[in-house]
Symmetry: C2
Subunit: 226 residues, 2 copies
């Protein structure tokens, strides 16, 4: 304990910085993640952050890496390839779900971050096990992961409204906007307005999203074989 004085102990830690930046993004939206705000949160001058991050993109990348680090990759087992793949993709979504406003940052980091790479490799393993060529597995895997990220970032309610008042206002506005449509010209949209604005259940939403991706993969595979 003698090796580090009080002042020294206060030094910033890039991990902590990325963590609280992620918290800001979660609660106030991505555009609220500002060098100045993050610095203030750590009682430090804005420029201090540049000792730990090259620039703001570097900070955002760290946020992405952090989320990807939360992926709890399921252990390989004897289930069929598509069942295992579903488990991997579910783990991926589970890691991003808590951060719908920041999840987009994960996209650029999958092929850089350690656990992103692990998941990508695993995904390709399973796809090739299913019968895809290496190249096809790469393209299919790429698109599937992109779709799942989008699934999270467009989760209903991922709009950047933080306090419930503006949140409710925005919902009311959307509702009114759809309600103002002619039910004659847009019968299906108007009758499904409720679902379009806010789906029945978030869990169902994600389940359907993953179902669509997995079913797409299987479907494309049988088409390729034919």
């Amino acid at each position: 304990m003698a090796t580090i004085s009080k002042e020294t102990a206060k030094r910033l830690d890039p991990d902590k910085l990325a963590a609280s930046a992620l918290e800001i993004a979660d609660s106030e939206g991505l555009e609220a993640v500002t060098i100045r705000k993050l610095a203030q949160l750590h009682d430090v001058t804005p420029m201090a952050l540049y000792r730990h991050f090259q620039d703001k993109n570097d900070l955002l990348a760290a946020i992405g890496d952090r989320m990807l680090g939360d992926i709890a990759l399921p252990a390989p087992n004897d289930d069929p390839w598509d069942v295992q793949l579903r488990a991997v993709l579910t783990a991926f979504v589970a890691a991003l779900r808590p951060h719908p406003k920041a999840a987009g940052l994960a996209l650029f980091r999958i092929l850089v971050s350690e656990s992103g790479l692990a998941m990508a490799e695993r995904t390709m393993e399973l796809l090739t096990a299913g019968g895809f060529s290496t190249d096809d597995a790469a393209e299919v895997g790429r698109q599937s992961l992109c779709s799942l990220i989008t699934l999270v970032t467009t989760e209903p309610g991922a709009g950047e409204d933080t306090d419930p008042v503006a949140r409710e206002d925005s919902l009311r506005f959307k509702r009114a906007s759809l309600a103002a449509l002619s039910p004659h010209r847009y019968p299906l949209i108007t009758s499904a307005a409720d679902v379009l604005i806010c789906p029945t259940s978030t869990d169902r939403y994600y389940e359907l999203g993953i179902d669509l991706v997995v079913a797409g993969i299987r479907g494309v595979l049988v088409d390729r074989k034919a």
Copy 2:
């Protein structure tokens, strides 16, 4: 010709403004679309734009609307529902493809813009024709369209590098980054590096993307029925 003087003829037109804003986005990236730059392009003071757009978001929305307006919705015919659906989704993608850097703006405008609504309604028609309930059609359609937008925005080479020099640099960097990976730990990723960085053909890329979405829809449908 007497009704409008030279000066009056020079007045700004919101459509033209949105069009040239879209051009900026296409060539220099979305973040290059700046009130000031757009104003300068039209020989006008920045604040002049605020007579035609409430704020910058309004301008971005107009860009989104403009792209959605380019959707050439195929006429209904006697083909099976899934074939027609594929045609609609292809038309959607075709409208966005010329604008990979701006396509993300279309997301928020589908349920607002005229032709966005037309396409959404049409999509739901076909989905219900296939057998989905109205609510399921809404959720499935929503996700499918989101995935296709992402397909465009993440099109390889959609990164905001405009001139071929930085473009090539970025590619080289990615290539080097993947090449530096251990082929032992990531055998599949490293062997598919070329495809992951830049797919074989853009047309194939989009075809696969649409295939995945349509196959997913069909697959989910039969699962629902079972």
